[in-house]
């Protein structure tokens, strides 16, 4: 017995507003994008004939095809870096730090920036990476370089640094969750049976944290694919990925091309999520 009866009409009516809201604001718009991407004709009207011409025209352009690959490549690179970095940080915070006070302090230092604006954090990279920026000053004063490195800002290197900084928490968070739910006894059992630490990690810890790794990777993948803010602010309009192309077409009022790129982006994301779901069963995570 609880304040709500199982299967009661009340439950249905309580669920309805949020459900309708999501259908109206997320599902319907996404379906509309798919529909618009198939529009022939010229105007913005529901009477346009359905055709695949928009896709054919887009994919016939070699530089656009290259852009798709480039976007995937960038996502893969950021996934690899944030994956390794995120796992190291998660392992250190949950396993290696033994003092509770230190753990909370480090954890807060890790998480707090996530609660501030992504846009502002991306903009903050401009004075950090610039020719007279903090990073160059630091490297010069350490004697590592003689002249400031120009390539930090408005380059792929700069964008990647910003993206790693923004998205490592996404890769790390789920791993922290999985790591802290591993029972102590498992590890002790393995140690008692004289397994060396590397084997304990490889045979016990890693498989048990695999769902966390995969979910983190999915989050990073989705975010890098859709990221256009970091690319415009830190990349200074010199580089573009699929997200920027969407914006570019939209600002040029090319609504069909915008829709085509959006659908391609959606397909990439769906493929990524499907692959991930084959590796782990997300529904089992809650238990």
């Amino acid at each position: 017995m609880s304040t709500i009866r199982a299967g009661s009409p009340a439950a249905f009516w309580l669920a309805l507003p949020a459900g309708l809201w999501m259908v109206l604001a997320v599902v319907l718009p996404v379906l509309l994008i798919v529909w618009v991407s198939l529009w022939g004709g010229q105007g913005v009207s529901p009477n346009n004939p359905i055709t695949f011409d928009n896709y054919a025209r887009f994919l016939a352009n070699e530089s656009y095809r290259w852009l798709i690959l480039d976007t995937i490549g960038q996502a893969a690179m950021i996934m690899a870096i944030t994956g390794v970095l995120g796992y190291c940080i998660a392992y250190f915070l949950t396993v290696k730090v033994t003092s509770p006070g230190w753990r909370i302090a480090l954890f807060l230092a890790f998480v707090i920036p996530f609660w501030t604006s992504t846009l502002i954090r991306a903009i903050a990279f401009v004075p950090f990476l610039g020719v007279n920026g903090l990073l160059n000053q630091l490297l010069i004063s350490l004697g590592l370089i003689e002249r400031p490195i120009q390539a930090f800002l408005y380059s792929r290197l700069g964008i990647s640094m910003a993206q790693v900084s923004l998205y490592t928490l996404l890769a790390s968070g789920p791993v922290v969750y999985m790591l802290s739910s591993i029972p102590l006894a498992l590890r002790e059992a393995a140690m008692t049976l004289k397994a060396p630490p590397i084997i304990v990690f490889w045979r016990i810890i890693l498989p048990l944290t695999l769902p966390g790794i995969v979910i983190g990777q999915v989050l990073v993948f989705l975010n890098v694919l859709a990221d256009f803010i970091t690319v415009t602010t830190v990349g200074g309009n010199k580089l573009a990925f699929l997200g920027n192309l969407i914006l570019l077409f939209y600002e040029g009022s090319q609504i069909r091309s915008t829709a085509v790129v959006s659908v391609l982006l959606m397909i990439l994301m769906l493929v990524g999520v499907t692959v991930a779901l084959r590796v782990v069963d997300i529904r089992k995570l809650g238990s």
Partner: protein, 275 residues
């Protein structure tokens, strides 16, 4: 968790990586914060040419062209509205999930979809929807609808987690003693889930306040703060932007700090109460 490990070396290596990343993560924000206090002749990078509050004063006395105050007010009101709506909808939705209505599995995925769908697609799709319906986009109508759809999944998951840890025996006791379901919810359930509700409200506020992509496509002519910041960045990067960035970041940090202190005080008060 206390794992006794033999390897100190791994600890040192991982520790260095962690501390290095934390420094790397905070350094840009620190740079921006420092440069926002640059002198009047200071630019957007070092040297600062003195220390002053010039750029903050500029922010306050801005002219029509780069006045951040109206967008800031709009962002604030929109975030408040989004926060309130998210709280109501997520509490209802999570409470409904406890009632195991038909199709609750599908419903769960429907709400999760909002978490997965990127802002750029949702915003663009919603812009098409309003255009086909002939509705003019505005920050307090179309942008509001889209913002709530972004914060709702976070609030919903938070409330689900809260209800999962909730002990139904407490409600049972109230109902056995003759309370109606509504009274039991108000007097027993609500006070217990209140910390989760505050967390949901925070999610609703900060996700809306910081949202850029979804607003860009749906806000119409009067933009919110992130749009104004991006527009100014397109025109020219000035230390004023660092000032506004520092102000909003400081605001976020203060809100987080206040809420954490609130939770801590509440937890202490609950512990101190005689059983």
């Amino acid at each position: 968790m206390h794992w006794k490990t033999r390897s100190r070396l791994t600890g040192w290596v991982l520790g260095t990586v962690t501390i290095g990343f934390l420094l790397f993560q905070w350094a840009p924000m620190f740079t921006m914060f420092t440069l926002s206090f640059a002198g009047e002749t200071g630019g957007t990078t070092f040297p600062m040419n003195g220390v002053s509050l010039h750029w903050y004063r500029n922010l306050w006395e801005a002219d029509l062209f780069d006045d951040f105050k109206p967008p800031m007010l709009r962002s604030f009101l929109l975030a408040l509205a989004c926060s309130a709506t998210t709280v109501v909808l997520s509490v209802c939705a999570a409470q409904a999930m406890r009632g195991r209505f038909r199709g609750n599995g599908l419903y769960f995925y429907l709400l999760l979809l909002g978490l997965m769908a990127p802002g750029i697609l949702v915003g663009f799709g919603f812009a098409i929807l309003t255009r086909l319906l002939g509705i003019e986009g505005s920050w307090n109508t179309t942008a509001y609808v889209v913002h709530v759809s972004w914060a709702l999944p976070f609030g919903f998951l938070t409330m689900l987690a809260v209800f999962n840890r909730f002990d139904p025996k407490l409600e049972e006791a109230a109902l056995t003693l003759g309370a109606t379901r509504v009274i039991a919810f108000r007097r027993i359930t609500w006070p217990i889930i209140l910390p989760g509700v505050i967390g949901t409200a925070l999610f609703g506020f900060s996700l809306s306040y910081d949202e850029y992509a979804r607003t860009l496509f749906t806000a119409g002519s009067d933009g919110t703060l992130p749009l104004a910041v991006m527009a100014q960045l397109d025109r020219q990067l000035t230390p004023e932007l660092y000032a506004i960035g520092s102000v909003t970041t400081a605001m976020s940090l203060i809100v987080i700090a206040l809420c954490s202190i609130g939770f801590w005080l509440r937890a202490r008060a609950l512990r101190g109460r005689p059983a």
